[in-house]
Amino acid sequence: MDAIILLTLTGLGLAALYFLVASGLSLVFGLADVLNFAHGLFLGVGAYATWWAAGNLPGAGPDGLGFVVAVAFGVAAGTLMAVLVELVLIRPLYSRTIEQVLVTVGLSLAGVALLQATWGADARPFPRPAWTREVTSIFGAQVPNGGLLLIVAAALVLGAILAFLRWTRYGLIIRAGVENREMVTALGIDVRKAFTLVFAIGGAAAALAGALGSVYFGTVSPQQGGSLLIFAFIVVVIGGMGSVVGSAYAAVAVGLLQQFVNYYGTSGLGDICVVALLAVVLLLRPQGIAGKAVTA
C-alpha cells in the first residue's frame, strides 16, 4: 500500500514536470503551428538562470525568500528567451511550418551546446532549500518534498492558465485561434500578438519546470531539457494539440504509467509502454484526447 501511494505521488511529480513543459508546447503548436524543438532550451535557461541567481544575484539565495527570488529570476529569463525566439527567429518565417521546425532544431542544438560551453557538460549540484531534500509522510509513504512542490506548482500553473484562457480577452483570442486562426484574423484581430504571448507563457512554464525539476533531481545539466522534451511531445500528442486540459490528463496518464511499470516491470519498460500508448492513441483517435486533429 505504501508503495502504491509513493509511486502515485512520484508519478504525479513526474506528470507535473511533463505538464509544465507540455502545456506551453501544446498552446504554441495549437495556435501557431510551430513544433518547438527549442522548448527544452527554455527549460535549460530557466534551470541555469535559477542556479546562477541563487549564487550570484543579490537578494537571491538557496533558501527561503531568496530561493523564491532565484526561481522568479529563472522564470523571467526563460520567458524573455521565449519571447526573443518568437520575435527574432519564428516570426519572420510565419506560416512556413517546416522552416520554423528547422530553425527550432538548430536553436536546440546550438543552445544546448552554448549552455555546455558556458557551464560544462557535467551535472552540477543545484542549490535548494533544505526542506525540499526531506520527505513527508503521507499515509505511511515517505514522499520527497521536491516532488510535492512540483505537483503544487503544476496545479497552480494549470489553474492560472485556465483562468487566463477563460476570463481574459487574449485568452479568448487564443482559444478561438487554436480552433481557426484564419477566422480570428477575419474578425479584425492581429493574431500574431497572441503568438508572442503563448511563447511567453510556454517559456515561463518550461523555465519553472527547469528550476523545480532541478530542485527535485538535485542537479542541473545542459541535456536535462532534451530528454524531458521527448516525453513532453508525447504528452502533447496524446492530450491533443492546443488543449491544456488534455495535456494535463495525458501528463498524469504518462507519468503514472511510466512510474508504475518501471517499478513493477523492468526499468525502462515504462518508457516503452508510454510510446505504445502514444501509438495506440494516434491510431484510434488522431486528434488526441481533446483538441484539434494533428494534420498540420
Binding site: 517546416i98 522552416e99 542544438l109 551546446a113 560551453a117 501509438a279 498540420a296
Partner: protein
Amino acid sequence: MTEVKSPEVSAPPAAVPDELTEQPGRWGRLRPFLPLVALVVALILPYSTLHLPGIFEGALNSPGTLQLLAVCLVFGGLAAGYDLLFGRTGMLSFGHALYFAAGVYGTDILITRAGLPLWQAAPLAIVGGTILAGLLGAVALRTVGIAFAMVTLAFAQVGAILVARDFGGLTGGEEGLPLDVAGLPDGLVGVTNTVNLYWLALAYLVVVVFVVHRVSGSPTGRVLAGLRDDERRIGVLGLDPYRFKLVAFTLAGGLAAAGGAVYCLIVGGASPHITSSELTLSLLVMVVLGGPGTRWGPVLGGILYMYLDHRLVSFGTSDAVNALPAFLSRPLSQPLFVLGTVFILAVYFFPGGLASLAPRLALLRDSLRPGSRQRG
C-alpha cells in the same frame, strides 16, 4: 499596377534541381563531369602521402585521416538516403537514427554476441533494419505531417531506451559494445587495413547515390515528388499515397541500416549515442545545409557536416581560438554551437542549401562581368 503576394512555395524547401538550371560557359561544360572528378579524387586519395596542414592532421593516407574520411563518406550516404524521405517525398521523420542504429547494433551483436561471421551478420542486420522500417513505417504513416514526426521520434526513443537499458545484456548499455574482431575477415582488422574500410565506405556512398538517383528518376520517384508538392493531387490520380510513402520509408530505412553496418566496422563497435534523437536532427541539418531534393546537396552536406563535427573540436582547442576572449572561445569550441548557428543562418539565407550556391554564384559572376547582358 501589379502586386505580388506571397510567391514562396510551401515547404519543404526544395531547391531547383541542378539539371534544370542553365549553366553557361566553361563551368557548365565541366559540371556534368564534376561527380566523376570527385570520384577519381576519392579513388586516388588513399595512395597520396600529401600533407594538408590545418585540414587533416596526418598525411592523406594515414589511418587517422582515412578513418575520418570513411565516416564522412558514410554520413554522406546516410544523408542522401534520408533525403529520399525529407527532400524528395516531403516526409519529416525524426526517427531515422533508429534504422541506422539497427544496422550498427545488429551487425555488432550478431558478430560479437552470436559469433556469426561478417558475411552473415551484416546482411541479416540490414534485412532486419529494413523489415523494422517497414513495420514501424506501416504504423507511423497512418499519421501525416507533424504527428508523423512525433511518432517516428517516439519510436526512435524506444530504440534509444532499449539500447541504453541493455535488456538481455546484448547492447552493453551506456558503455557500448566493442566489435569482436575475431569474426571479421583479416582485411578489415588492424590499423594498417584502414584503407579497406575507406573503400567500403566509398562503395556504400556510391551504392546509395546510385539507388536514390534510380528511384527518383523512376515513375515511383515522380509520384514521390508529387506527394511532396501536393499529396491531394496524387490521391486524385487514383494512386495510394500510403503505399508509395511506405516504399520510400522502407527503402530509406534499409539504406540507413546498411550504412550502420559499414559504420560499425569503421569505428569498431557501437555506442549508445548513435541512437539519440540528436543524430536524426543532425541528418536533417546535413540535408538542409546541402540542399534538400538535389542530386549532390545531401551528400555534400553529410560529408561536410561530419568533417566539421570532427575538425571543429580541434579547431576549438587550437591556439587561434584559445587566444580569443572566453565568451568567444568557449562557444566556438562546441561544434554543435557552430553547426547549429550555421544551420539557422542557412534556413534564412540559403533555403536551397549548398546546392543552390553554385547557380547563385554563377548569376553573381555574370552580373559582375563587364559587358555582360544587362537586359531587363
